[in-house]
Assembly symmetry: C2
Homo-oligomer: 401 residues x 2
């Protein structure tokens, strides 16, 4: 005899469903496959030697920071790291005080915290078309309503934003990834940033600026962040995941002063503080300009891979009528298959042919474009990229027949 379950789920949990992309990624994990579906940085870029040396210094016999780094710590984060973040944003043209910096357990946690502080059930949130899936997942438990803003190769358009602002409830914020966006790889240029800031200021529409990829530029540094242009109207998220290593789960939020205390309380309730040991080790790794030497090596590696993929796509997919972005940085290329093809439907054939991508549909908050897919170029060699794009080309040509 089984008793009825004593558990009753919250309404928000009833609406939670297995991540579509997680299910998709399972079929791409067949051994031997050329995998362009992941969102992982290349493990070859992780500074293992520097990490090993930093751990040894932090935990050395007689180290004054050994036991403090293993103790409970302030919810705001390690002062040295907060100072580093403020100075780094200063280099990018934004005036940030260390006490505006909240260290988070990956920038994903920043998304969770800001959703708790800013979103009621039914609150309206504007997002790009397409947008970062992880943000949709982080915001979803607070049950907002997403509206997908018309976007082009430079991100959302000022016109699209104005149209959204003319209809319906005033949005709580617009969520933007100005630099080499996941999934599209696109970047907002200087002119677009100025236009968007003007519209947002005019309408009192706050911005959540998410910038995990800004340091990964391959041609020229991106324009100054939106935060530099409207400090009181922008909540900024950054991360060490793509420039050091994601397994440390170290990110940060830079918050306007009126929001900081609420985010801090949400942080305290969520996990008390981000692991102090990780913060101390990373502070130890990055002092003395380590990233100024390390990040260029990541850029050089990924630039070769990006160029290889763009060349292979031109060769293999160009004749099919497919179109794709030419990202100036980041990790991803966004591809639109010839009209009539469905990326999700094509995936099994691609996997059979030995390569995997992620269909684009899960990245749309609104009506998905079934022709789209995302390709990561950072974890494959140029040779693997050549072979993978050749396989994709064969599959697409087969499907057009």
């Amino acid at each position: 005899m089984t008793s009825p379950s004593p558990w009753q789920l919250a309404a928000r949990a009833e609406a939670m469903n297995p991540s579509a992309i997680r299910e998709i990624l399972k079929i791409t994990e067949r051994p031997g496959i050329l995998n362009f579906a992941g969102g992982l940085p290349s493990p070859e870029t992780f500074p293992v030697d520097a990490m090993r040396a930093a751990c040894a210094r932090v935990l050395a016999e007689g180290s004054p920071v050994a036991r403090p780094s293993l103790q409970y710590a302030a919810s705001e984060g390690l002062p040295e790291l907060r100072q580093w973040v403020a100075a780094e944003l200063g280099r990018q043209g934004a005036r940030v005080a260390p006490d505006q910096v909240l260290i988070t357990t990956g920038s994903q946690q920043g998304l969770d915290l800001l959703a708790k502080v800013l979103l009621d059930a039914g609150s309206r949130v504007l997002v790009e078309t397409p947008t970062y899936l992880g943000a949709l997942q982080a915001f979803a438990p607070m049950q907002p309503r997403f509206d997908s803003v018309t976007s082009d190769e430079g991100g959302i358009t000022a016109q699209g934003l104005r149209e959204q602002l003319q209809n319906g409830e005033h949005p709580r914020f617009v969520y933007l990834l100005p630099n080499f966006q996941n999934p599209s790889g696109r970047m907002q240029d200087e002119a677009r940033r100025q236009q968007l800031i003007a519209v947002c200021r005019e309408h009192g529409l706050p911005i959540v600026e998410d910038n995990p990829y800004g340091e990964l530029w391959y041609d020229a540094p991106p324009p100054a962040p939106l935060l530099a242009r409207w400090p009181e109207g922008v909540l900024y998220l950054g991360s060490f995941s793509k420039i050091l290593a994601p397994g440390l789960r170290l990110g940060y939020v830079i918050a306007p002063r009126e929001l900081y205390p609420k985010l801090l309380q949400a942080k305290q309730a969520a996990d008390l503080h981000t692991p102090g040991f990780n913060q101390r080790v990373v502070a130890e790794v990055i002092r003395d300009g380590f990233l100024d030497r390390h990040v260029p090596t990541i850029r050089a590696r990924y630039k070769v891979q990006r160029d290889a993929m763009l060349a292979a796509l031109a060769r293999e997919l160009g004749p099919t009528g497919a179109e794709w972005t030419r990202p100036r940085g980041g990790m991803f290329i966004w591809l639109r298959l010839p009209a009539g093809l469905d990326a999700q439907a094509l995936l099994p054939a691609a996997v059979d042919a030995g390569m995997a991508f992620v269909p684009g549909a899960p990245f749309f908050a609104g009506q998905p474009d079934p022709c789209t897919l995302r390709l990561s170029f950072v974890t494959s060699t140029p040779e693997q990229i050549d072979a993978g794009m050749a396989a994709l080309g064969r599959v697409v040509r087969q499907a057009i027949l």
Copy 2:
């Protein structure tokens, strides 16, 4: 000219206020004070040598786990750690499969996740009197209604629980810390556990069992966990904070199978996964029975300190009419001042006399008992404990005059 703020807070954030205890702790941080107010374990117990060796092994040249430990990882947690947790609970009499274990960023995150999955605004939650403040803070953003169950020196009473179940909406769960509870230090004995499980089963009232202190027993191991008695009705939280080091932020949830997928999705949305590096290092530290050798050294240390505090209290406070718990484990003693005294009002005089405690009021979800206060015995030497309790005795005697 200043523009109006573009930000609008969520209703839950409007209700967030600075933590009372955080403000209180500020006045206790005067240099030179004998501080019994904290909730920190003793840093002398942190296994720095073992941590240093484990970091060196994980990050050694040629280590096959170095780069994987720095990469994005599964939201469920490291398989080795999940297996260890399942086996550990098995030793305590609970049958747990590794795939019921979710590794969390401290057990505080477990509280946050379960609140997201189980609580709607207005949902009823039953808690002990007093209860763990951090849980109230973790649950609060989901805006539940707390009801404080009548409790005695063995925790909530079966009678108190029955009374709560006769009135009002069916509670989503009852939140219990059966072992050496923070703040009271009290433990549910075998008979109490059986009574509570019987009432909960009879009424279909699920239990959230929080057990950060269970390993810190000084006289005899506590009875088997509630989880062992009603696997499908108990959500269990554990932590490495008190047996290794809190700065690693490593905890876990053991969930009934019907809840696991929802908690996993909430986890993924909250921070993708708990730092893989920390999980790998801890898995490396604890294999080969390290904790079987290490935890007894913590017990031996804290037992001496507990005994010193109980002796000092008997000597210094006994004559005043104050009463206090005699915890068989954990980190805290709960003291009730002679009737008519107010712990919060007494704190400035105690700080002036050179010692600090935490007033008990913030630990009550309902009507606080202003006579109560919490003392931690784990970060002070027996000599400091003697001096601190002597100071407290003087302050109390002065206040009675």
